[in-house]
Amino acid sequence: MIRYLTALAVLAGFAIMPEVIGEYYVEIMILFMINLILASSFRLITTCGDWSLSHVVFMGVGAYATALLAKFLGWPFWGTVLLGGMASAVVGLAVVFPLLRTKGFGFFIGSFALGEFVRLIWVKFHFPFGGPRGMIGIPSIELSDIDFYEATPYYYLVLLFTIGCLAVLYRIDLSRTGRVLKAIYADEDLSKCIGINVARYRAMAFSVSAFFAGIAGVLLAHRLGAIDPKNFDVNTMVYLVIWVVVGGVGSFWGPLIGVAVMMLVGEAARPLAEWRPLLFGGILIAFLTLLPGGLDSLMSKVRELLDRRTADGTKEN
C-alpha cells in the first residue's frame, strides 16, 4: 500500500512539476528523463554481467536514424520513434554477434572497440551523416495541433515515454527472462547445464537494451535539433557508467537514483567548469573501492542494520 502511494506521489510530482519550476529546469528535467531511460536500459545488459561500453552509441543510432528520417524523408514522430528503436536493436544484434564468445574484459573492451566502429562511420561519411560536425536542423515533433517545440508539451511527451519504457523494463526485470539473465551472471556454466541458451539470452538482452537506448536517442535528437558524433563518445559512456555505478545495479531503482543524484551533483558543480570530470572521476573511484554496490546497496545495508536492531530489541523484551 505504501509502495503504491509513493509511486502515486512521485507521478503526481512529475505531472505538476512544469507548473512549479522555471523553463530552464523543465529542459533539465527532459534530459533527466531521457537519461533515466538510458540508464535503466543499460542495467538490463548489466544483469547478465555484460557491461557494454557501447551503450551510448546505440542512443546515437536512434538519434541518427531520427535525424535521417525526419530531415530527409519528413517522417512523423511515430515513424521515427519506432524505426529509431528498431534500427538500434538491429545494429545491436550485429555488434553483439562477435562478442558472444567473449566474457568479462574481452566483452568490455570488444564492445568499446565495436562501438567506436559504429561512431567512426558517422565521422567518416559526410553524406548522409554530416561527418565530424554531425547533423543540424532536425525538426521538432508536431502531433495533431500541439507544437512540441515548447518545453512543457515536450516534457509531458517524454514523461509518457519514460513511464512506458520503465514499465516495460521493470516487467522484463521481474519476468522469467530477467531471472535467466541473473542466473547467467551468477553462474554461466551452471546455467548452460540446466538448458539455458546463454548466447541467445545475452544477445537478446543486448538488443533489447539497445532498442530502449535508441528510443532515448530519438527523444534526444528531436529535442536538441542537432547531433554530432562527439555526443556519443567514450566520455559520455563513462558518465553513464558513473550514474549506474553510483546508483548500483542490484535493484531496478539503483540506476534511477544514480542518475538523479549525479545530475544534481553535476548541476551543483557547474561553477567548477573544467574541474568537473576530476570530481566525477574521484566519485567513480570512491564508489567502486568503498561502496561497490552503489547507493542502492547502502539502503539495503541500513535496512538490514535497522532490522537487526529491532530484532535484538524484541529479543531483549
Binding site: 557491461w51 554477434f97 562477435p98 562478442l99 564468445r101 567473449t102 566474457k103 568479462g104 574484459f105 574481452g106 566483452f107 568490455f108 573492451i109 570488444g110 568499446f112 572497440a113 565495436l114 567506436e116 566502429f117 567512426l120 562511420i121 565521422v123 567518416k124 567514450v234 563513462v238 557508467v241 558513473i242 555505478v245 573544467e274 574541474w275 570530470p277 576530476l278 566525477f280 572521476g281 574521484g282 566519485i283 567513480l284 573511484i285 567502486l288 573501492t289 568503498l290 561497490p292
Partner: protein
C-alpha cells in the same frame, strides 16, 4: 602504390608497430598478473609525452634523458593506481577496470589545467634529418623508436626469464595462489607489474612526443588501438601482443596511406571482430577471455 611509397609504408608500419608493441606489452603484462585491464593506459602514454614536453621542451634537458626519466615518473603513476584502485578492488573484475576510467578523467583534468587545454604543445624535433632506406625517407626521430623498442622488449624478456623477481612475476601470472604459497609477496608483484606497465606506456608516449601533437586527450586514440592489440594477441600473452602490434601497425599504415586514418581505425576494429569470431582466445592466447 608505387615502389618508394610501398617501401615508405613498410618502414612506417614497422615504426608504428613498435610503438603499439611497447604500449600493448605493458597492458598484457599487467593483465597477466592481475587479470585486470587498465583504462587509463592511454593517459599514461599521454603523461609520458608531457614528461618530455616539460623536461625537454620547457626545461632544456637532453632528449634521451627526458625519455628515460619518463619511465620512473609514469611507473610511479602506475604504482599509485595499483595501490589505490586495483588493490582495493581485487577480485571484482568490473570495479577495477571502471575505476581506472576515473583515473583517466583525473589525469586529463590535471594535465589540462596545469599546461592548458586549447593549444597543441609542440615539442621541437631533437634529431633533424632523415635516413634513406631503399629509396624511402625515414626521419631519425622515427628511426630511433625501433632500437628503443628492441632494448625495452629485450630487457623485459631478460628480466622475466633470468631474474628471480621476473620469474616470480611469471609465476603470479600463471597461478596467483600457488605463487603466494611459494612465499611470493603478491602485493609486491602486482605493484611491480603496474610499474613496468606504466613505465612502458610512459616511454612510448615520450618517444612519440616530438612526432604526435601533445594534448591532454591524446591517450584516447592510443587506448582504442592498444585494447584491439591485446584482444587480437590474446589478453595475457606478451608474445601475442607483440605479434598483434605489428599486424595492426601494418593494417593501420597501409589503410591510412591508401585511404585515411578514420578508415584505418575501423579496419583495425573489423580485424578484431573477425579474430573474436574465429579464435576468441586471440592469436597466441590460451585462456578464454
Amino acid at each position: 602504390m608505387d615502389w618508394p611509397t610501398f617501401i615508405q609504408s613498410i618502414s612506417n608500419a614497422v615504426i608504428l608497430g613498435s610503438i603499439y608493441a611497447i604500449v600493448a606489452v605493458g597492458l598484457a603484462l599487467a593483465f597477466g598478473v592481475m587479470q585486470m585491464a587498465n583504462f587509463a593506459h592511454g593517459e599514461f602514454f599521454m603523461a609520458g609525452a608531457y614528461v618530455v614536453y616539460v623536461l625537454y621542451a620547457l626545461g632544456g634537458m637532453p632528449f634521451p634523458a627526458a625519455v628515460i626519466s619518463a619511465f620512473p615518473i609514469v611507473a610511479a603513476l602506475g604504482m599509485v593506481t595499483e595501490r589505490f584502485v586495483f588493490r582495493p578492488t581485487r577480485g571484482n573484475v568490473l570495479a577495477g577496470f571502471m575505476a581506472t576510467a576515473g583515473v583517466a578523467f583525473i589525469l586529463q583534468v590535471i594535465v589540462g589545467q596545469v599546461w592548458g587545454v586549447g593549444l597543441m604543445r609542440s615539442v621541437p624535433t631533437p634529431y633533424m634529418g632523415a635516413a634513406s632506406i631503399l629509396g624511402a625517407q625515414m626521419s631519425w626521430q622515427r628511426l630511433i623508436i625501433l632500437p628503443s623498442t628492441l632494448v625495452m622488449v629485450g630487457g623485459l624478456w631478460f628480466f622475466l626469464h633470468n631474474m628471480k623477481l621476473g620469474k616470480a612475476l611469471r609465476a603470479c601470472a600463471q597461478d596467483v595462489e600457488a605463487a603466494s604459497l611459494q612465499g611470493i609477496n603478491i602485493n609486491k608483484i602486482t605493484a611491480l607489474s603496474m610499474a613496468i606497465s606504466g613505465g612502458f606506456a610512459g616511454v612510448a608516449g615520450a618517444l612519440m612526443a616530438p612526432i604526435n601533437a601533445v594534448t591532454p586527450y591524446m591517450g584516447h586514440s592510443i587506448i582504442v588501438t592498444a585494447f584491439i592489440v591485446v584482444i587480437v594477441g590474446g589478453m595475457a600473452s606478451i608474445e601475442g601482443s607483440i605479434l598483434a602490434a605489428f599486424i595492426l601497425g601494418f593494417i593501420h599504415t597501409f589503410v591510412t596511406t591508401l585511404f585515411d586514418a578514420v578508415l584505418a581505425t575501423m579496419a583495425g576494429v573489423a580485424f578484431m571482430a573477425i579474430i573474436l569470431v574465429v579464435k576468441p582466445t586471440g592469436l597466441l592466447g590460451r585462456v578464454r577471455m
